[in-house]
Symmetry: C2
Subunit: 122 residues, 2 copies
DNA sequence: CAGTATCCATAGGGATACTG
DNA sequence: CAGTATCCCTATGGATACTG
């Protein structure tokens, strides 16, 4: 059992319905948010690289996800003024702090996924 | 920079589009999935308690979320054959392993949420 | 109490076409 | 190349009513 009282806002009623934590949580745990953060934690990527490496993401969703992550200060967008355009995305310091917590979770899931799916409700 | 090559399936192309990892990831990072797991990590809860403590969740979504988490073996459902019915939900060992990784992430988000929201793209 | 069943609205998200 | 703009569909999820 873990003591949640150390986590602000998690004492009574998990997280208040309209708090900033839920907002950021939704950004981070969004389907494509996690995968983009994961991709960038492995190294900087250009737009076209992200499109390829994050399998299944549409242009619309990639753009939306990146805008949110940039706005939240997790990702930095560097646009070089050349033709054709060259834009690189990378994690900010804040983004690295976040993925430092995200990666262990992802690692555990990736390692146990097959077992979990094949052994429903052991 | 973190080495992702240690995470199975995360080497080329983050996570293959149709893999079990993405499936489990979607269950765990679903809006209500995270909050229910968080609630249960603080202690066992009955259905009605979860409805109250997980602010904003509808009956439909709570039922669906719990079914998924039980099916994945993260949560145990104990139904006592009494009238009125009394059903208790608790984390399984697998569920505790998962939340052990989830809680630090949530803690970080909760602590930084205000800063993140108020300081977009610092 | 602990759900299930049904209806229904809205918005999440895909496909496509277009632009600086 | 790196996006934006539009159309359009379906599936998520809320509200309500009902049941063992």
């Amino acid at each position: 059992m873990v003591d949640l009282s150390s986590v602000p806002g998690v004492t009574r009623g998990i997280l208040p319905a309209q708090c900033n934590s839920r907002l950021v949580l939704d950004h981070v745990t969004s389907t494509w948010g996690v995968l983009v953060l994961l991709a960038l934690s492995a190294g900087d990527h250009r737009w076209s690289e992200l499109r390829r490496v994050v399998e299944g993401v549409s242009e619309k969703m990639l753009a939306q996800t990146l805008r949110t992550l940039v706005a939240d200060g997790f990702v930095d967008r560097e646009a070089e003024p050349v033709i054709p355009p060259r834009v690189t995305y990378r994690l900010t310091e804040r983004g690295r702090e976040l993925t430092a917590h995200l990666l262990p979770l992802m690692g555990w899931i990736a390692q146990h996924a097959d077992e979990i799916v094949s052994t429903p409700a052991r």
